[in-house]
C-alpha cells in the first residue's frame, strides 16, 4: 500500500489528469454566487420549514443584507480559491508524493464548507445557526488535517476542532437559555422579545464567546496560526475569508441581542482591541508566510469585533464593509504565499526575497492586496479604514487613538511582508522558478476587485449598509468616498501611514519587540495552556487508571463499598425512629430460629474452611437448613425444589472442582486479613438495614394472596404455588427456564466450543 502510494505520483507526473472534481466545485461556487447575487438583487427572500416541531426547531432561512454579504463573500471568494486550488492541489500532491486520488478527500469538504457558509449566513434559527457553525468547524478539521501524514497537521486540526467546537457549544447553550426564557429559537422573534436583564446578558455573553473563538480572537486565537498546516487554498478560503468570518457573522446576526447588554459590548471592544494588537505584534515577528498572514487575520478580525463592540449604525455598517475588504485582500495574499511556496519550495520570509523580479505580475497583484489591507487610497481598503476611524471617533478619543495605532501596526506588518517578499536581493540558495500562471491569475482577479472597489465603493457599501441594518435592527447609511481635505478621518489615516512607516523602517527594534512578545506568548500564552492542560489531563488519567488497575479492578470490593455507603446515606437521610419492629414469633417459627442459626454458622464455616471440598459441603448444609426453613414456613413446593436444587448444585460444584488444579496453600495477604471481612461486614450490615427495614413495614393494603387463593380453583388447581408458576405467572417460568438454557449453552461454549453434545 505504502509502496503503491510512492510510485503512483510518478505516473501522475507524466500525465496530469484534469481535476474535474475541482472544476466542478468551482462551478458550484460560481452558480452559488450567481444565485445569491440574483436573489439579493431581486430583494432577498425568506423561507421556513418545520424541522423538529416538538422542540420548536425550524429550518428558517432569509437572504437579508447580512446573509447576502457573507453568502456572496463565501461563494465569490470560494469560486476564485477553488479555481486556484485545482492547480495548487495537483502540485501539492505531486510534491508530497501522494496519489492524485486524494483529491477525493479535499473537494467535497470545500464544497460542503461553502454550502455551510451560505447556510450559516442565511439561517434565522439559533440552533440552525449552531449546526452550520459546527459544520464549518468539521469541514475545517478535515481540511486542516488533509496532510494527515504530518504530525503537526494532525495536532493543528484537532486543536482547531476542539477550540471551535467546544466554544460553539456556548452558542447552543445561549440558544437554550433564550428559549427557556422566551420560548423560541428564532432570531428575529428573539430580537423582538428579549428584554435587557441577566438572562439577556448571559445569553449575549455566551453568544459572544462562541463567535470570538471562531474568529480567532484573543485569547482563543492560538488555533489559527497552527491551522496554517492546511494546504494554502484552505487557508486562503477558510482561514481568511470564510470560516473565521463565521464568528463575526454570528456577532452581526445576533447583534441586536448583544446590544441589550452594555457589558458584553464593552467586552467585545476590549477583546477586539487586544486581538488587534496581539495579532499585529505577532505578525510583525513572524517568519512563516502563512503564519504571518494568520496573525494578521487575528488582528484584522479584531477590528471587526471592535466595531461590533462599538455598536451603532456606523460601526455595524463598517464591520460589514471591513469583512468584505479584508476577505478579498487576505485571500489574495494567502494565494500569493502559496504561489511563492510552490515555486520556491520555501515558506519562510527570511529565506525569500526579490521575488518580484521573477514574478512581476504576482508582485503587483499582491501589492494591491497588501495596499488594501494597509488601507492605502485607491483600494477598497481605504474605505474600510475610513469607516473604521469614523466609528472609532464616535466611540471616543481614546478609542480613536488606539484605532490609529492599530492601523499603523497593519501598515507595518503588511508592508514588511510585501517588501521582504518581492523587493531586495534574492536570497541565495533558494530555487527561483516562476509561479504557475494558474496560481497567479486568481490573485490578479481579487486584486482587480480590490482596485475596483477602491474606485467604485458604492455597491460594496450598499451591501455593507444592508448588513449593518440587520445587525443594528435599523437602517444604516455609510456613503464612503474620497475627500481631499484635512478632515479627521484623513488625518488619522495619514498618521497611521506615518507611524506604520516608522515601525516598518525601524525594523530591528520592532522585530525584536515582536519576537519577545511572541516568545512570551509561547511560554505563557493560551497555546501553552492548551498543551499543558492536555498533558496534565493525560497524566491525571494515567494516575487514576493505574490506581484502578492495580487495586480496584480485580476487586469486587470496589462495587460493594459504594453500595454499602449509599445504603448508609439512605439510612441516615430518613427518619428511622419507629421504622423498625422485631415482629412476633409463634408456633413452629421457633424452630426456624435454630435453623437460621445453622445456616449462618454453615455459611461462616464455608467461608473459613481452607479446603474446597469442606466449603462445598458446608454450603450444602446451608442449602439443607434453608430448605427446612422453607418447609417450616409452610412452603413445601419451595422446600422440594430447594432440596433437589441443592443436591444438583453440590454435584455440579464437585464436578467442576475435580477438574480444576488443586490449589496450594494460600499465603495470607496482610491487607486482606482485615479488609475482606470488613467489607463483608459492611455489605451484611447494609443488607440487614435494608431487609429489616422493609420487613418491618408490611403493607396494610390487601396483598395479592387472597385474590390468588380465590382464583386458584377457578384455574382448576389446588396448589396455588404451582398455579402461579404455570398459569398466573407462567411467563416468569418460561423466562426462568430459558435462563437455564442459556446458562447451559454458556457452559457448552466454555468447555466444548458450543457443542451441546
Amino acid at each position: 500500500m505504502a509502496a503503491a502510494a510512492k510510485t503512483r505520483p510518478e505516473a501522475a507526473l507524466g500525465k496530469p489528469s484534469p481535476d474535474w472534481s475541482g472544476w466542478s466545485a468551482c462551478a458550484i461556487a460560481v452558480v452559488g454566487f450567481g444565485t445569491c447575487l440574483a436573489g439579493w438583487l431581486t430583494g432577498g427572500g425568506r423561507g421556513s420549514l418545520p424541522w423538529a416541531p416538538s422542540i420548536g426547531l425550524e429550518l428558517s432561512f432569509a437572504l437579508d443584507g447580512l446573509g447576502a454579504l457573507y453568502a456572496l463573500l463565501a461563494t465569490g471568494i470560494g469560486a476564485v480559491v477553488f479555481a486556484y486550488g485545482t492547480c495548487y492541489l495537483r502540485l501539492h500532491l505531486v510534491h508530497e508524493h501522494r496519489p492524485a486520488t486524494e483529491r477525493r478527500r479535499f473537494w467535497p469538504w470545500m464544497v460542503l464548507f461553502a454550502v455551510a457558509m451560505v447556510g450559516l449566513a442565511t439561517a434565522q434559527d439559533l440552533v440552525l445557526l449552531f449546526c452550520f457553525f459546527d459544520l464549518t468547524a468539521v469541514c475545517s478539521y478535515f481540511l486542516i488535517g488533509f496532510d494527515r501524514g504530518e504530525q503537526h497537521a494532525r495536532t493543528a486540526a484537532l486543536a482547531s476542532l476542539v477550540v471551535t467546537v467546544a466554544s460553539a457549544v456556548a452558542l447552543l447553550v445561549a440558544a437554550v437559555v433564550l428559549r427557556a426564557e422566551y420560548g423560541t429559537f428564532s432570531v428575529p422573534e428573539l430580537v423582538a422579545r428579549v428584554e435587557p436583564g441577566p438572562v439577556a446578558t448571559t445569553a449575549a455573553a455566551l453568544l459572544a464567546v462562541a463567535a470570538l473563538a471562531k474568529s480567532a480572537q484573543v485569547p482563543l486565537h492560538f488555533w489559527l496560526p497552527r491551522a496554517m498546516a492546511a494546504p494554502t487554498p484552505v487557508s486562503a478560503y477558510l482561514h481568511s475569508a470564510a470560516m473565521v468570518a463565521a464568528g463575526v457573522l454570528v456577532l452581526g446576526r445576533v447583534h441586536p441581542l448583544l446590544a441589550r447588554s452594555e457589558a458584553v459590548l464593552t467586552g467585545l471592544l476590549v477583546v477586539g482591541l487586544a486581538s488587534i494588537f496581539v495579532g499585529g505584534v505577532l505578525a510583525l515577528g513572524q517568519d512563516g508566510l502563512k503564519q504571518l498572514l494568520a496573525c494578521s487575520t487575528i488582528s484584522q478580525y479584531g477590528y471587526v469585533v471592535m466595531l461590533y463592540g462599538i455598536g451603532g449604525p456606523t460601526a455595524n455598517g463598517a464591520a460589514g464593509f471591513y469583512v468584505l475588504a479584508h476577505g478579498i485582500a487576505k485571500s489574495a495574499l494567502f494565494m500569493t504565499a502559496g504561489a511563492v511556496t510552490t515555486a520556491t519550495g520555501e515558506d519562510r520570509l527570511s529565506a525569500l526575497g526579490g521575488f518580484g523580479r521573477r514574478a512581476p505580475v504576482l508582485a503587483a497583484a499582491a501589492g494591491v492586496a497588501a495596499a488594501t489591507l494597509a488601507a492605502l487610497p485607491l483600494t477598497m481598503g481605504f474605505f474600510k479604514d475610513e469607516l473604521f476611524f469614523r466609528a472609532a471617533r464616535e466611540a471616543g478619543p481614546a478609542v480613536a487613538v488606539l484605532a490609529v495605532l492599530a492601523a499603523a501596526l497593519t501598515v507595518a506588518y503588511i508592508g514588511r511582508f510585501w517588501i521582504r517578499l518581492f523587493l531586495g536581493p534574492a536570497e541565495p540558495g533558494t530555487a527561483h522558478r516562476a509561479p504557475a500562471r494558474a496560481l497567479v491569475a486568481p490573485v490578479v482577479v481579487l486584486a482587480a476587485i480590490a482596485l475596483f472597489g477602491g474606485v467604485v465603493a458604492e455597491p460594496f457599501a450598499r451591501l455593507a449598509e444592508a448588513a449593518g441594518a440587520v445587525a443594528t435592527a435599523a437602517p444604516v447609511s455609510l456613503s464612503p468616498s474620497y475627500h481631499l481635505d484635512a478632515r479627521a478621518g484623513n488625518l488619522m489615516a495619514l498618521a497611521a501611514y506615518l507611524l506604520g512607516g516608522l515601525l516598518l523602517f525601524g525594523a530591528r527594534p520592532t522585530s525584536a519587540v515582536a519576537r519577545a512578545v511572541a516568545l512570551a506568548g509561547d511560554r505563557l500564552g493560551p497555546n501553552r495552556i492548551y498543551v499543558g492542560a492536555l498533558r496534565v489531563l493525560a497524566r491525571c488519567s494515567a494516575m487514576l487508571h493505574d490506581r484502578e488497575v492495580r487495586d480496584l479492578r480485580t476487586s469486587v470490593a470496589a462495587v460493594l463499598i459504594p453500595a454499602g455507603l449509599l445504603t448508609a446515606v439512605a439510612f441516615a437521610a430518613t427518619p428511622t425512629a419507629g421504622a423498625y419492629t422485631t415482629g412476633r414469633i409463634d408456633g413452629l417459627d421457633w424452630l426456624i430460629l435454630p435453623l437460621l442459626g445453622l445456616a449462618a454458622l454453615a455459611a461462616i464455616g464455608a467461608a473459613r474452611s481452607a479446603a474446597r471440598m469442606a466449603m462445598v459441603l458446608a454450603l450444602s448444609v446451608v442449602g439443607f437448613a434453608l430448605a427446612t426453613i422453607y418447609a417450616l414456613a409452610a412452603a413445601p413446593d419451595v422446600a422440594l425444589v430447594a432440596v433437589v436444587v441443592e443436591t444438583m448444585q453440590t454435584l455440579v460444584f464437585l464436578a467442576a472442582l475435580s477438574r480444576m488444579p488443586r490449589p496450594g496453600r494460600a499465603a495470607a495477604r496482610p491487607l486482606g486479613r482485615w479488609r475482606d471481612p470488613l467489607v463483608g461486614a459492611v455489605a451484611g450490615a447494609a443488607t440487614f438495614a435494608g431487609v429489616w427495614g422493609f420487613l418491618s413495614q408490611p403493607t396494610s393494603a390487601p396483598g395479592m394472596s387472597a385474590e390468588i387463593l380465590r382464583l386458584t380453583p377457578v384455574a382448576h388447581g389446588a396448589d396455588a404455588v404451582t398455579v402461579i408458576v404455570a398459569d398466573f405467572r407462567g411467563l416468569d417460568t418460561l423466562g426462568e427456564i430459558t435462563v437455564l438454557l442459556v446458562a447451559v449453552v454458556g457452559v457448552a461454549t466454555l468447555v466444548r466450543r458450543g457443542r451441546l453434545w
Binding site: 479492578r553 467461608a607 467442576a656 447451559v744
Partner: protein, 138 residues
C-alpha cells in the same frame, strides 16, 4: 421473626460478599451462591401472611402467602443456572491461566497496561504534539 429473617439474610449476604473478595475463583462462585440464597430467604421472609401451606387450604384458617413462594422457585432456578455458568467460567479460567488465583490475573492486567504505554504516548502526541525535547525549541 422479622429480625431473625433479616439477620439470617444479612449474614448470608455478608459472608457471600466476603467470599466474592477471595482470590480463589471457586470461592467467588460460592459467594454468588450464598448471595442468591440470601435473596431467596428474603423473598420467603417477605410473605405477607403466614399460616398453612397454600395447597387446598382449609377455609377459615390463615394461609401462607403463595406469591413469594412462587417467586422463590424462580429465583432458585436462576441461582442454579448462574452458579453452573460461573463454575464453568472459573474452570475455564483455571485451565487457561493454570491458576485460579486472582492476583495472577491482576498482574496480567498490569502487564497489559504496560504494553499499551507507547500507544498512549501516541494518543497524547495527537493532541498535545510530541513531548518537548530538552533544549530544542521551535
Amino acid at each position: 421473626m422479622i429480625l431473625a429473617y433479616a439477620a439470617g439474610a444479612a449474614i448470608l449476604f455478608g459472608v457471600g460478599s466476603y467470599l466474592l473478595l477471595q482470590r480463589d475463583l471457586v470461592r467467588i462462585v460460592a459467594g454468588v451462591m450464598l448471595i442468591s440464597q440470601s435473596a431467596v430467604l428474603t423473598l420467603i421472609g417477605s410473605s405477607l401472611t403466614r399460616g398453612q401451606a397454600p395447597i387446598a387450604p382449609e377455609p377459615g384458617r390463615p394461609v401462607s402467602d403463595p406469591l413469594p413462594q412462587a417467586l422463590s422457585l424462580t429465583a432458585l432456578v436462576i441461582g442454579l443456572a448462574t452458579v453452573a455458568l460461573l463454575l464453568a467460567l472459573a474452570h475455564r479460567v483455571a485451565v487457561v491461566f493454570r491458576s485460579e488465583r486472582r492476583d495472577a490475573l491482576a498482574a496480567n492486567e498490569v502487564e497489559h497496561e504496560q504494553e499499551l504505554s507507547p500507544e498512549r504516548q501516541r494518543d497524547q502526541d495527537e493532541t498535545a504534539g510530541p513531548p518537548p525535547r530538552p533544549g530544542g525549541s521551535r
